[in-house]
Amino acid sequence: MNPRIPSTLNPADLLTRVNRDVERSILRARNGIRYARGTHRPTLGVTPKEVVWKRDKAELWRYQGGDRRYGPPVVIVHSLVSRSYILDLRPGNSTVEYLTRAGLDVYMLDWGVADELDADNDLERYVDWYMPRALDAARAASGHEEVTLAGYCLGGVMAALYAAGHDDANVRNLILMATPVDYSEMGAMVALLREGRLNPDELIDETGNVPADALYSGFYMLAPTVEVAQKATLLENLWNDEFVEGFQAMATWSRDHVPFPGAAFRQLVDLLVRQNILMTGSMPLGSRQVDLAAVQGNVLNAMAERDNVVPPPAVEPVMQLVGDPFRREELRLPGGHVTFGTGRSAFKHTMPKLTGWIIDHSDTPS
């Protein structure tokens, strides 16, 4: 190569770049048409699974594909506001798949899509009725007395209440992923409700639930213009099949909210948001007071540093409130709220660190 000719002007390089650009233009056109038509959407949540327990709309799935070398089983409790496939988004980009391939026996407690029948479901119904039964089913299916219980977002609150509120919970490890406990730090997400501008009943529709659209609007308004930059980035990467697939998967999930059961929503607003009751370290549940410090076992408080849905200050007090002070650990992850399920950061940091922690606190293979 002539050193006086810049590499960009080198005829061979130039030809390669022209070829690449032509190829990318063709791929952009093809993927653009597919995207506009809405065809070739990725299939989501495809890690093989079987339903091991079901009551009403709640289902417990057991994932297959790994050799299940470690115990106790890992039971993931999902939130009530979004779809659980965020943790099993696409093959090769799925937390569930990663955990399963590492040799863990993974279960997911999915709440389904609430309708009129679920309008009266309160937190007691989830924590004291569904969860004990689902976890018994996981224990029976796995043959272990204990469980590793992992809750994501509001699912973390339910997991903590279950672990603290049941003497027979047998939770060896409690993993709280982006679990809000200090609702005064939740920002715009709850400001309308916290300051009494809106009452919960003003958001509940004729089915008795908060409609999915209202929840989507709440999330959308956190960053209303960011979609422009996302679409521009998509345009630039439209030639890249994997990028387009990932983009479509995330776009589908972020619009795919589920109605929030009315009774649980009223409790959430009154107790968690307005009274910020979790910060007192205990919460009334049914006819008793549940003390968060009563959680037995190891506690991992995992948070995402750039989470704008559940900001770290809302999560940090877990380290003062939940479980035994000597058995609490904190895990700070780069990335946003979805880093627990998808993205480059998830694959690089979240999945290996979470899996490593669980394996370190599990029984080693015999």
């Binding site: 327990w53 009551r55 009403d56 309708d115 009129e116 029948l117 309008a119 009266d120 089913a137 029976a140 920002g187 715009a188 400001a191 309308l192 300051e195 501008r197 809106l198 003003e202 958001l203 004729e206 008795g208 308004m221 956190l222 960053a223 209303p224 213009t225 960011v226 422009v228 930059a229 521009a232 980035t233 630039e236």
Partner: protein
Amino acid sequence: MPANQPLWLRAVIRIERAIGEPIESAVRSDTYFDVISATTRVRRKVLGTAEGVSKRCLHLLNLPAGSDIRGMRQQLARMERRINQLSHDVAELDEDESGPGVR
């Protein structure tokens, strides 16, 4: 911002941030919250009034209104929920009688 991004994309992202940041602070302001709560209340009030008028008209013709159907659906849902609960209770009693290990 990744260094290999083309100039046009960098420009779009910068413009988006320049516009987006003030909008994001606006949608976190008290004024915005007041507007949203007022809009929600007005919308519910207007819908309620329209529904009340149409309900009276339909009842004059001895026809059920949407709110009647809604009420009935809610009652049905409560009843279905009660039946589901009873069937779960019965199933659990059966399981208990069948002995441990049976699910």
